[in-house]
């Protein structure tokens, strides 16, 4: 199909402008992270006149960035693993079985997507404190509480997407496994899960990004020891100074792992969305 000139040119101009819009903050992040403090505090310049890698060294001592990094990694990693495992089980049940209450379950789980986070922030805070007082299990201020909270954020979307994905795996495959004497769980892990790997990876990417980027609960439910990056980055602005160059360097450092991971796995995400969400 030979596209007419008008279309090719519109496309070219539009995509160029859009690329500029998308990359502008990335450029600012990179270039400002290589400037000394005097330069980022005065007028903006497109090209850094004094290049320095000093900010990348200082970020680790201005705030305990490594600790925040580790906390974020533990919280997001654990939330992802738990969320994916739980979503796989739930989606398998909905995709492969007829049972009473199936519709109620789907509606309930999916409608939690529309709740404003602010609605359950305070009640959840009270519940965690009460559980802590009653049982001694420290949820408030601990990584555990944050993991528990985050994994439920990605759960509804993950279940929804995996149901669509599991539906696209031919039933004959796992029914054959059942006939061969596999239990339903073996059929799930031997047949359905391997066939649905792109969907599962997509869900895992989504869950990890949700947890890595959350700000509201992280700022209320963490303390000095469990602070995550979302809150920790605020430490670079003090009353006297805002260390913009260090903020940009730290932003870049905390972004690189997720962006790299995401871009590596984006094929799976697109495939997962095609099969799962878009139907």
């Amino acid at each position: 199909m030979a596209a007419p000139r008008s279309f090719t040119w519109t496309r070219r101009v539009f995509l160029t402008l859009l690329t500029g819009f998308v990359l502008l903050p990335v450029y600012v992040m990179v270039s400002s992270s290589l400037k000394p403090l005097e330069d980022v505090s005065s007028q903006f310049h497109w090209l850094p006149s004094n290049l320095t890698i000093r900010p990348y060294i200082d970020i680790w001592s201005t705030v305990p960035l490594a600790k925040y990094f580790l906390n974020s990694l533990i919280v997001a990693g654990a939330a992802t693993v738990c969320s994916v495992v739980i979503a796989v089980f739930a989606a398998y049940a909905v995709s492969r079985y007829e049972f009473r209450g199936k519709r109620v379950f789907s509606v309930t789980v999916l409608s939690t997507q529309m709740f404003p986070g602010i609605l359950f922030l305070l009640p959840l805070f009270l519940i965690y404190v009460n559980i802590g007082n009653a049982t001694g299990i420290a949820l408030f201020g601990s990584r555990g509480g944050l993991i528990l909270t985050y994994l439920t954020f990605s759960l509804p979307f993950s279940i929804w997407m995996l149901i669509g994905y599991f539906d696209s795996v031919p039933r004959d495959l796992d029914e054959a496994a059942l006939v061969d004497g596999c239990g339903p769980l073996r059929a799930l892990f031997k047949v359905v899960v391997p066939a649905a790997i792109p969907g599962i990876v997509a869900v895992a990417v989504y869950a990890f990004m949700t947890a890595w980027g959350e700000v509201l609960f992280a700022s209320v439910m963490t303390n000095d020891a469990t602070r995550t990056l979302a809150v920790g980055l605020q430490g670079y602005s003090t009353q006297n100074d805002v260390y913009w160059n260090q903020i940009m360097a730290a932003s870049l450092v905390v972004s690189v792992p997720v962006v790299a991971g995401f871009l590596l796995l984006q094929r799976y995400l697109v495939a997962g969305l095609t099969a799962g969400a878009v139907k």
Binding site: M1, P4, F14, L15, T19, V22, P25, S32, S41, I86, A87, F89, A90, Y92, A93, V94, S95, Y97, E98, F99, R103, F105, S106, V107, V109, L110, T112, M114, F115, P116, G117, I118, L119, F120, L121, L122, P123, L126, I127, T149, T152, I159, D167, D172, P184, M209, L216, L233, W244, I247, S251, L252, V254, S255, V259, F262, L263, T274, A277, V278
Partner: protein, 342 residues
């Protein structure tokens, strides 16, 4: 929309399976019936967690909205006195300061959401259509376009906050110093401009999701449709209008709803951009409620506002689903529509 997707398909399948022509039917496997408890067992973890973290807190939140829950009672919220509907009447008394501020914040959020969702959809769809045909560098471009989606919110928004700085930001440098469009450098993070700043950041961050979903939706449109249309002499623009956009309708119905809910409830973007108190022109509802609860320490009023917000979202979603499911009954299959058109 989402719920019908989830439940309609298994239903359809059951009908297909139990028809006499199909060899494998659930009835032929008695072991199935004995394992009747299994689906519940598989659902149990998800159910328990959603209960603990979403539903129970929500119920408590609703209870709290009927109480006078100020800082004096926060140690043991159950002892706070009941106030009936006081928190609600205060929230919707639009002549008094509290209600007036809430109404203002609500209207700002509505305007913001409509603009942001509209722009995200428009840019995302346009980009996805532009990238439908293969060209050199398409893979790289797609990766670039997904960067805003992949960047952690706080890192991305903090960079925008830096760009919008009055003295040392890029935006003022370009608009004032380089292009000379403004008399003096503007303030972007306070005052009326803050609405624009918030919108730009929100669209920058949100459109790749629309792009991703539309791109996935485009893959489901059969190539033959375009080929047939090209044979009939339809140009690219006509093909987009007659085939691409109509075929995307079911995808768009889900996409717009999801974007609406996310944007309306967004807390992270304004919180990182403006801090705990947003400027009046960009006072989104979730920040407003946070401010009412945690800064002025009136959790009862904050809960009442949250409940009102939830009721509004339920209403909008309900109406939306009703309207879209009714229009969906019209011929949806692009093939049918095409033959009708030609």
């Amino acid at each position: 929309m989402t719920t019908t997707t989830a439940s309609a398909q298994p239903g359809e399948r059951t009908v297909g399976k139990s028809s006499p022509g199909t060899a494998r039917g659930p009835r032929r496997r008695p072991g199935r019936i004995r394992r009747i408890g299994l689906p519940y067992l598989l659902l149990l973890p998800a159910l328990l967690l959603e209960l603990l973290v979403h539903l129970v807190p929500m119920v408590i939140g609703i209870v709290m909205s009927f109480k006078e829950l100020t800082q004096f009672y926060i140690r043991d919220w159950t002892t706070a006195p009941w106030t009936g509907l006081d928190n609600f009447t205060m929230s919707v008394d639009f002549d008094a300061p509290v209600g007036e501020a809430l109404l203002h914040s609500f209207l700002v959020t509505c305007a913001f959401t409509i603009l942001s969702v509209g722009l995200c959809w428009l840019i995302g769809t346009a980009a996805a259509i532009c990238m439908q045909d293969a060209f050199r560098g398409r893979g790289l471009l797609r990766a670039i376009f997904l960067v805003p989606y992949a960047l952690p919110v706080y890192a991305a928004v903090i960079t925008w906050a830096f760009m919008f700085q009055h003295d040392n930001g890029l935006v003022n440098h370009v608009l004032h110093d380089q292009l000379g469009l403004t008399d003096k450098p503007s303030f972007w993070l306070i005052g009326d401009n803050s609405f624009v700043a918030l919108l730009v950041v929100s669209v920058w961050k949100g459109w790749p999701f629309a792009f991703l979903i539309v791109m996935a939706g485009l893959q489901n449109i059969p190539k033959e449709l375009y080929e047939a249309a090209a044979l009939d002499g339809a140009g690219v623009w006509q093909q987009i209008r007659r085939i691409t956009l109509p075929s995307l309708r079911p995808v768009n119905q889900v996409l717009v709803l999801v974007l609406f809910l996310w944007t309306f409830n967004d807390f992270n973007t304004p919180f990182v951009l403006f801090g705990k108190a947003a400027p009046e022109a960009a006072d989104l509802i979730s920040i407003h409620i946070y401010q009412s609860s945690f800064v002025t320490w009136n959790f009862g009023a904050g809960s009442a506002m949250s409940v009102l917000l939830l009721l509004f979202l339920l209403l909008v979603t309900g109406v939306y689903l009703f309207v879209t499911s009714r229009t969906a009954r019209a011929p949806r299959n692009p093939q049918e529509r095409k033959t009708a058109d030609v």
